[in-house]
Amino acid sequence: MSNTAALIDIKGIRDGLLVKLGEGGWPALQAALINAIDERQAFFKGARLALDVGGQELRVAELTPLRDLLSDRGIFLWAVLSESSITEQTARNLGMATRLSKPRPPVVRPAAEPGEGEGALWLAHTLRSGTRIEYPGNVVVMGDVNAGAEIVAGGSVVVWGRLRGVVHAGAQGEKGVQVCALELSPTQLRIASEIAVSPKRKGKPQAEIASLKDGAIVAEPWQTKE
């Protein structure tokens, strides 16, 4: 393969190897990568690999075979870096990192104002333990947020289900955001820089809305106006 070098850039980093892929179709890139590895098996064997795929949109159907191909060659794919949110989500779902080290402090930008009708991240399924969602705007979950799952949103968070995990709304400092759930019993709730833990509750769970009141997180039951 003469053009392999143009497609693949390999660098040693603190956490192992960082491979940056160039532009091109995914099958060709994957073939070039495997080819480059097979040419230098001894060098790659046992490596921890982070893969920068640029803007490629990869789904489970692409990423799992690659992980297994690498695994066959004794290479552990621990991180996938991408500009595409689809690829990042896939990588996270498969338990891979999407950043090389600790995430840089988020760029401060005004969070989405609730009620402005701005686009929100729509998640039409239950978030299970181990899932982490980060989004600069509002987040809506149609399902439960189980204990062990985390949502970090720049704006408000609405959970149409039981909220038992950790939610951080207004993560960039926005104080006027809300967190609501049909059952609000998070492991921990953060709004802007405030942190609260759900009190032990008895009786039937009810829908509640949490927001900041005088610098403290307050949860109020949701009721229709009579």
């Binding site: 489970v60 191909l69 695994s71 333990s129 899932t131």
Partner: protein
Amino acid sequence: MTGTVLTVTSGKGGVGKTTAIANIGVALAAKGQKVICVDGDIGLRNLDVVMGLENRIVYDLVDVIEGRCRLRQAMIHDKRLPELYLIPAAQTRDKTAISPSDMARLCNDLRTECDWVLIDSPAGIERGFHNAIAGADKIIVITNPEISAVRDADRVIGLVEAEEREAPQLIINRLNPAMVKRGDMLSVDDVLDLLAIKLIGLVPEDENVIVASNRGAPLTLDAKSKAGKAFHNIARRLLGDEVPFDELDTPGLLQRLLGRK
């Protein structure tokens, strides 16, 4: 033959994966199925002990994958049943000795040999777990009615769903009806509420399980115990029978379960 590859996994250790494999294997084989149990816990093998076959091991899973023996040579026949076999794990190697695609290939070979391939997964969500589910057609997640086990089961279900596979089914092991009644243990409903997947088995807590494991005679061999009956029921459900979930035979719970449908 085109068998079904079934993996039992849990995330957390010690919830009863190996016991479940041994007993489901025995129960299926007792119903005339040809069953091969595979111990996927390389480096920490246990299934051979629970099945009472440890002194008959010559070749293991890694030998098959690395081509040191033929598949049939590694299959140890459990003589108590006509068609029950075990492929043990290697004890002197670790999880990196095989890869997910090795397992997928092995499962394809095994499928042609039998009706059921039962794979015992190691605890955890790393390489060993990926190996164990690589070739699976069906995945069963087993958990105990306690928060930490359920949390790990939830994580594992999430990982399985992330790979866009068929939704796993659930076994709740070690239920103690008296404790549930007193409110000291999560109930079946509590667990199902949280995990939201289909239930395939309820196994009551039973001291005989430990006795049987130590003797190397899975208690399903003799169906008198409560837990043994529960594993027979799981086997029947795997074969497509509609079996009511009356393993705990506490009327209140039974009614609640029936009310759910």
